[in-house]
């Protein structure tokens, strides 16, 4: 086993492990076969599993996700790729109205064990239509599980849990992390969906982050430590199930909360976290809650502009400084 693997390799590895384990797992998406995916996150799959398990599709997001749904109802465990998470909008009916509702509206008759994987997030200068962090879109719809790993090992472990889940899972792979390296996942690694992780301990403030915001929060924590501020960093890992228990437990230690979100402030997931805290954790709070989130604008192309509108280490540090001064 390699010493480290990339997040990108972990995606393919995570899928491959499940395909080896379960013949019902099949993949479909644009350019995922011979091309190995435009992000190379399906590299090697067609070579190992052949074209009967790895299917190239037309540019037809509705057909991709709709077909995955039909297959999931009838005994398969499809893993559908939507190339960029922005394009979830092109098949939103399936994510919003069909997949999360069919079990409920049939009184439990139909189950859809599928995974929709997608490359999420910005910071790479891809502009307004290829850079969004859209995990908050999925959060508006009850009935979807939402996974967004931050490390290669979590990618593998959460992919296993997602594919084995009998519920539909939207799996956000962060474009900004694809080249990031980390420890490989041990054999049979499964990370249960809905378990947040305290990835850095600290007594002064809780930073709640997701995906690419986790390493960013960790860098902020390191800087803050130099100033004597001990930040605890919680990697949520999933938005649904949302592990509020871990967040509230951390808050009980720190009494201060900052969410670090890439999605825009308006309608962002941090708002839901904060609203639970403002209700159930009100008595724990010693200071206002702050959200470091994307600005409420489309994402601009130029680095200098993009940097201005997405969270940065500096913005997180500044928000924490502000709060600890409260």
């Amino acid at each position: 086993m390699a010493d480290v693997i990339t997040y990108r390799e972990a995606v393919a590895e995570g899928i491959a492990r499940e395909m080896r384990r379960d013949a019902a797992v099949v993949c479909l998406g644009e350019d995922i076969g011979a091309a190995g995916g435009v992000f190379k996150t399906t590299a090697g799959l067609i070579e190992e599993f052949g074209p009967e398990r790895v299917w190239d599709t037309p540019i037809s997001e509705q057909a991709i996700v709709g077909a995955a749904m039909g297959a999931a109802m009838t005994g398969m465990r499809p893993v559908a790729e939507i190339m960029f998470s922005d394009f979830l909008a092109c098949c939103w009916d399936y994510l919003a109205n069909e997949i999360p509702k069919v079990r409920y509206m049939t009184g439990g008759q139909v189950t859809v064990p599928l995974v929709v994987r997608t490359a999420n997030g910005g910071g790479l200068g891809f502009g307004a239509q290829h850079s969004q962090a859209t995990e908050n879109w999925a959060l508006t719809v009850p009935g979807l599980k939402i996974a967004a790993p931050a490390t290669p090992a979590d990618v593998v472990g959460m992919m296993a849990a997602a594919i084995r889940s009998d519920d539909p899972v939207v799996f956000f792979e962060h474009k900004g992390l694809l080249a990031a390296k980390g420890a490989p996942a041990p054999p049979d690694h499964v990370v249960e969906l809905g378990r947040a992780a305290v990835v850095h301990e600290g007594a002064d403030v809780t930073l709640v982050a997701l995906a690419a915001m986790v390493p960013l929060a960790l860098r902020a924590a390191a800087l803050l430590a130099e100033e004597g501020v001990e930040a605890e960093v919680v990697d949520l890992r999933c938005l649904v199930p949302l592990d509020m228990r871990t967040v509230l437990a951390s808050l009980a230690r720190t009494s201060r909360l900052v969410t670090v979100e890439e999605n825009p402030y308006q309608g962002g997931w941090g708002a839901t976290v904060v609203s639970v805290v403002a209700d159930e954790g009100f008595g724990l709070l010693d200071a206002p809650v702050r959200r470091v989130a994307g600005e409420c604008v489309p994402l601009p192309f130029a680095d200098a502009l993009e940097e201005r509108v997405i969270p940065t280490v500096d913005k997180v540090v500044a928000a924490v400084r502000d709060l600890t001064a409260y």
Partner: protein, 332 residues
């Protein structure tokens, strides 16, 4: 004459006829119950469309998959749902097909391969392709059939589903129930070709056929032929079945936008009449047909009573069945 004396073919036709009458009576009951305020929300009745559901179902294997629309009572029943569980669903009873979570627009009987009724136009077409893909992957020889309206042929999901099904040579049939209208607008006003479904088949390189959707025998034969082709691995087909709805689009719509002459002409071309004519041609006595009518009528009467007497769902059930574990927890 006892039905045992009929030839197999004729006995089967009589059975199909009785099924159609059962559906018609159930639809009529649904309409009356809606007007009485016993059915909430909405209904989209398929009275007039019975031959498509019954004829197609007769041509399918028991393990084939069917996907229908909000106008789907006939498909649920043709795939084995009884009038009581259907009406109970419409009447918000715990004994309804979907435990009163679905309602008229979402009748589903997964146990018999009727995988749902979908209320967003066209959304189920890719799903049917996916079920066919699954059958192909599992090598079961099953096929999938998606029924949809003429109006659905103009939505993007139609195009994507047809192309995917053709490229992947999936065992799926797309059956359009062309009743000439979307809700209130004539389909011809908003569609670029004369036959909204069949005239699009060439864009996917697949067969596009038309059939009299009010003739249960013609539907059965055509679907059987296309199903065999699909099962043999020759890919999907598009079938356009001409029909007409007897009620309005939904609820109590009087369908005043339809010319009287058109309505009259179509009511004369009724699927039950056509089947009855065929039975008569084959020498089935009038009493035999009437007996079938009466059985259907009685079955629906009993179903209405039973549904009326069935219990309402427990409000707590509103918080079950989101997840496969039966629950609805989205957070810890």
């Amino acid at each position: 004459m006892d039905t045992a004396d009929l030839s197999t073919d004729t006995a089967e036709l009589l059975a199909l006829y009785e099924q159609m009458v059962l559906i018609r009576r159930t639809e009529k009951a649904a309409h009356d119950l809606f007007l009485q305020g016993l059915v909430k929300g909405t209904t989209h009745l398929a009275a007039g469309h019975e031959a498509i559901a019954v004829g197609a179902s007769a041509a399918l294997r028991a393990d084939d998959y069917v996907f229908a629309t909000y106008r789907g009572h006939h498909h649920a029943m043709a795939r084995g749902a009884g009038p009581e569980e259907c009406l109970a669903e419409l009447m918000s009873r715990a004994t309804g097909l979907c435990g009163a979570k679905g309602g008229s627009m979402h009748l589903t009987k997964a146990a018999t391969g009727m995988l749902g009724s979908y209320a967003i136009v066209g959304a189920h077409l890719p799903m049917a392709a996916g079920a066919a893909w699954s059958a192909r992957l599992r090598g079961t020889g099953q096929i999938a059939v998606a029924f949809f309206g003429d109006g659905a042929t103009n939505i993007g999901a139609f195009h994507e589903a047809l192309n995917l099904a053709a490229v992947w040579k999936l065992p799926v049939l797309f059956v359009c129930e062309n009743n000439l209208y979307m809700e209130y607008t004539p389909i011809a006003d908003v569609t670029a070709v004369a036959r909204p479904a069949a005239d699009r088949a060439s864009a996917y390189g697949i067969p596009g056929e038309s059939v009299d959707g009010n003739d249960v025998v013609a539907v059965r034969e055509t679907v059987a032929r296309l199903a065999e082709r699909a099962r043999a691995g020759d890919g999907p087909a598009l079938l356009e079945a001409a029909t007409y709805r007897h009620f309005g689009h939904s609820r109590s719509d009087p369908a005043a936008y339809r010319p009287a002459e058109e309505v009259e002409r179509w009511l004369k071309h009724d699927p039950l009449d056509i089947a009855r004519g065929r039975l008569t041609e084959r020498g089935v006595p009038a009493e035999t047909v009437t007996a079938a009518d009466e059985r259907a009528q009685e079955a629906v009467r009993q179903a209405v009573d039973a549904a009326k007497n069935a219990p309402a769902p427990d409000p707590g059930d509103a918080l079950t069945d989101v997840w496969a574990d039966g629950g609805a927890a989205w957070r810890t």
